[in-house]
């Protein structure tokens, strides 16, 4: 029965998976189910881009279930209403959401192209 449930969840996973080129697994199906059902019921309130569920999905897919879960929970504790007032995040310009990818992100524009004479 459990196997059938896992299989059904896996089949319900989005075809693109967590990142391009990666095959979706059971965890991805859980995140997908969350986005499909729970998030719609709760309303979309995440302050960040990528959203906490996508961040967690990518973290688990990239770093495994142990480290990935830690990273996902850490992001979840940072996702609160006052996050938008913090100046250490970079606004994305989309719905006043904040950029917070898994990778290190400088969040600054380079100046080099300003001095191109053509």
């Amino acid at each position: 029965m459990v196997r059938i449930l896992i299989l059904l969840f896996t089949l319900a996973a989005p075809p693109d998976g967590p990142e391009p080129g990666r095959v979706p697994g059971p965890t991805d199906a859980l995140f997908y189910q969350y986005r499909l059902v729970v998030r719609e019921l709760l309303g979309r309130k995440c302050s960040f881009i990528p959203s906490c569920s996508r961040y967690g999905q990518r973290a688990i897919s990239r770093y495994g279930p142990v480290l990935g879960t830690m990273m996902a929970l850490e992001r979840w504790t940072r996702c609160h209403s006052s996050a938008r007032r913090q100046d250490y995040y970079v606004p994305s310009g989309e719905n006043s959401k904040l950029l917070d990818p898994i990778e290190d992100y400088g969040g600054f524009e380079t100046w080099d192209s300003l001095l191109l004479p053509f």
């Binding site: 879960t69 850490e74 504790t77 600054f108 380079t110 080099d112 300003l114």
Partner: protein, 272 residues
């Protein structure tokens, strides 16, 4: 007949330039590609090729742009076109994050340029590339050298930027290692040290709550719940340590970003 054809070609070139000036980079890129294709070799149409690479750069097609800039910078003879291609390649490398390569391109631009303006731009950008790598003193020293070499407005700009670069070494800094250790000892303290008060208090509260529930489940000899809550507590605790490190990274990045924005603002207002 020949003159008429030349007039048409001149008009089409100006049409591509008009598209570029209007900011329609997609169409301008198509038009420049067509011009290069129909009018001969890329190296013979270096000004169009430079504009094409710039269009791709503006359209965020950085790989294509860098490829064309690099080709021009390698193949063109020494002169201003080659210098401009090297400047373009350097700017794309900086956008990608290849700061060392970007600096090498700027040095190449300064060496191959004929006009003073391009030599200055190459030298200035080469010195500023060190800022991205947080080599504040090196950048400041090189900029002061540039300021000494160039009189007038150029020298003043370089001198002002040297001052900004020097201030980089005095930027407030939080050690990711120490913040991680602080969060290990007391959950949330690493975040608090970095001024991320709400994050720190949330981390402290979540760790305390998860730990307390785990303790209660152990106290009640509830094995299944203990395993689940133990795993959750450990995950929160590990996430809190990672959060301390990440808070320090965010703090340091934000400090640098303010400095970079000042440099960018100074350069955007600079016109000879």
């Amino acid at each position: 007949m020949g003159l008429a054809a030349l007039a048409v070609l001149t008009l089409t070139a100006s049409f591509a330039d008009q598209l570029y000036e209007r900011g329609d980079y997609h169409l301008a890129a198509l038009e420049y590609s067509r011009l290069i294709y129909t009018r001969g070799d890329t190296l013979e149409r270096s000004s169009e090729a430079l504009r094409l690479a710039r269009c791709w750069q503006r359209l965020d097609e950085l790989e294509r742009s860098l490829s064309l800039y690099s080709y021009l910078a390698d193949r063109l003879p020494d002169g201003d076109d080659r210098a401009m291609a090297a400047l373009g390649a350097g700017s794309v490398c900086a956008e990608i994050g290849f700061y060392g390569r970007s600096r090498a391109f700027y040095h190449q631009a300064a060496k191959s340029a004929v006009t003073e303006d391009l030599v200055f731009r190459g030298q200035l950008l080469g010195s500023l590339a060190l800022l991205y790598q947080e080599r504040w003193e090196g950048s400041s020293a090189e900029l002061r050298q540039v300021a000494a070499d160039w009189p007038g407005e150029r020298g003043r700009l370089a001198e002002e930027l040297a001052g900004m670069a020097e201030s980089g070494s005095e930027l407030p800094y939080r050690s990711p290692l120490w913040c991680g250790l602080a969060s290990t000892v007391l959950p949330g303290s690493g975040q608090l040290i970095c001024g991320h008060t709400t994050d720190g208090l949330t981390a402290l509260g979540m760790n305390a709550a998860a730990g307390a529930l785990f303790y209660l489940s152990l106290d009640e000899d509830n094995t299944a719940t203990s395993i689940l809550l133990g795993w959750l507590s450990l995950s929160f605790y590990g996430g809190n340590i990672y959060g301390g490190v990440r808070a320090a990274d965010y703090y340091n990045t934000a400090q640098r970003r303010h400095l970079y924005e000042d440099v960018r603002a100074r350069l955007s207002g600079w016109e000879e």
